[in-house]
Amino acid sequence: MSSDSAFVRATDAVMAQLRTRLRPVWDAICTVLAPLDRALQPVAGLYNRSLGRHFGTMTGLQFAVITLGFAMIATVPFWSPLYSETLNITFAVASIWAIFAMSWDIQSGYTGYISFGHSVLSGAAGYTIGLLILHYDPSMGPLTTIPIAVLASLVLGLVIAVPSLRLRGPYFSLITLVGVLLFTNLIFAFSEWTNGELGIHQVDPFTYEPWVRYYYMAIPMLAIAVGLTYVARSNVGMVLLTIRENERAVSSAGLDPTKFKISSFVLSSIPMGIGGALLVYYGRAINPVSFVEISNSIEIIALAVIGGMGSIIGPLFGSFLFFFLEEEFLRDFIDDSSTRTLVLWLFVLGVLVFARNGVFRVVWHGLGAVRGDSE
């Protein structure tokens, strides 16, 4: 921008300086990793030829890292005691929030219509289960309640999407934010049904065994990750991205952007409902603080932004990183929980201001560029 202040210019200069200084370090890393990348290329080639057109092609190193990442997520209960006793639980929670972050991403990250109200969707699923168990039939199991809950968040998603997607830019974000405030207000206004601030506590969990519980959260998460990546890499994902970049181009191609925007919201509501239901059976309670309030929506966005909006896997990565930092890593240095949260928010702010495309993208493109054929 032409009106940059001295402060902005100074910061830019420092950043440029830093980049030149770090150049030799990066070159050294490349020299080490490039042979490894080349060695792994045949395996990645196999993947690229078979599944690459559905999920995107990768270089050898990228393929190795992704495979390793998924393998680690799939085996958390086996190796987590090596790090800490609570890691199991941390990653179970991270899985649920990863579902939220990925669901948010397929709608907001891809279409650029930023929703500030996604916690309403998971909240709808949560409260549906809570109200069913509390007021209809306490013996209802997850197999009956979860489909109803997902349906509820789907319906609410449509109720929000159809009128609000007529608005653009900040106005759309504003109305989704209002949706959260309205929902929170309604919970308090109908306290005799919802127990207001205290919430509903009559839900039985899936299981009390921690490692089994982890898989109850991680398996749906991985399935949703694969499903959403597939959609995102398909023609539908391409159209959604085009809506973000140039909505008129979509209309010119004879496609109805409104239809795609609404379907992206629906596509997002379904996993949001699943995640909300999992959160109920994980935490055994539904209350406004942990489900609906505005900070939940912001946290979902923060997870997606840390990882990198518009990439599905980025938000997954962001969620695991965030919860690892919050519940494990920072706990070793900072005892006070509010300071810890503060440090985390400052980290999010730093990513927002200085690495808008997210940490995962930086790592990913770095991995892709070790052989120097792309930058």
Binding site: L167, P170, Y171, I298, R356
Partner: protein, 302 residues
């Protein structure tokens, strides 16, 4: 049912002035930079806690441990502090991201959440109440005729708000630096062509808006209480008012503040406090759909 009507009306009129003050700061920032400052509520909170820190010894923070300044001294210091914080918020964070409305949106709300944690860390999650008007100076409640039990602090808040709004009006219509703000909010290109330093104008607007938020925050905390979550309610109020009045319009904010002030007080009084926010939010949704540019606003340009 309507026995307390005069009191309710007076209360609504008093609180509406404060709402207008809060909304004007919010709308000015949008006017000149196209930034929806979601940290505006956090600035209000900063006002309340800065005053608490200076004038009361209920929270213990190093350096300010047992500081009890006279309200007349503490109040202006608190206001200036918030103005400076608001200015710093622009210089340190917002100016880096203001070209992207969505990142700005996110960055400012993250600032608000971080502010909540700072407050919890230093002052605890509990509620703090304080008196702004010393009881030896003025009685704590006033009444006349059918109106009784009006809090003096609300009356003083009303007067101070209108004085601040009046001064702001003089500033943006009579002085060159104020007119530069108005020019920039009308057309940035035009302002640039007539030699306005748009960057300096933006920074100045954040300073002015911060001062308004400081005044609003101190009175808001005094008439209710100071809590770490106190930023959300006034922020959503500022939202509602600004959208109904028209984003960027000072006149619209005042009109809408009175509309919402009366609506909320009326609903709170006769339907129950839990329904206080709901009707205003529904009104907001209706306005967004039927009159997206608000009562006095102009169309939002992307």
């Amino acid at each position: 049912m309507f026995s307390g009507l005069p009191t309710v009306l007076v209360n609504a009129a008093l609180i509406s002035a404060l709402y207008a003050l809060i909304a004007i700061g919010f709308t000015m920032i949008f006017g000149v930079g196209g930034v929806l400052n979601l940290a505006h509520g956090a600035l209000l909170m900063a006002g309340a806690y800065a005053y608490l820190l200076l004038a009361r010894d209920t929270i213990s923070v190093p350096v300010f441990e047992s500081m009890t300044l006279h309200p007349l001294i503490a109040f202006p210091i608190a206001v200036v502090t918030v103005a400076v914080l608001s200015y710093l918020l622009y210089v340190v964070i917002v100016q880096f991201v203001e070209d992207n409305p969505i990142v700005t949106f996110l960055a400012t709300i993250v600032v608000a959440l971080a502010a909540t944690e700072v407050v919890i860390h230093y002052a605890g999650a509990s509620t703090h109440t304080y008196t702004l008007i010393p009881s030896d100076l003025l009685p704590s409640t006033v009444g006349f005729g059918p109106v009784d039990g009006i809090l003096t602090v609300d009356v003083v808040g009303f007067v101070v708000s209108w004085v601040a709004i009046g001064l702001l009006w003089l500033y943006v219509t009579k002085t060159d630096s104020g007119r530069a703000i108005r020019a920039t909010s009308m057309t940035e290109r035009g302002a640039r062509l007539t030699g306005v330093n748009v960057h300096a104008v933006r920074a100045r607007t954040w300073l002015v808006a911060g001062a308004l938020a400081g005044i609003g925050g101190v009175f808001l905390g005094a008439s209710a209480s100071a809590t770490p979550g106190m930023w959300l309610q006034p922020l959503s109020l500022a939202f509602i008012i600004v959208v109904i009045g028209g984003i960027g319009s000072i006149k619209g904010s005042i009109v809408a503040a009175y509309l919402i002030g009366f609506l909320q007080t009326g609903v709170g009084e006769y339907l129950g406090q839990n329904f206080r926010g709901i009707l205003s939010l529904v009104l907001l949704i209706a306005v967004l759909f039927m009159l997206p540019q608000g009562l006095f606003g102009r169309e939002f340009h992307e």
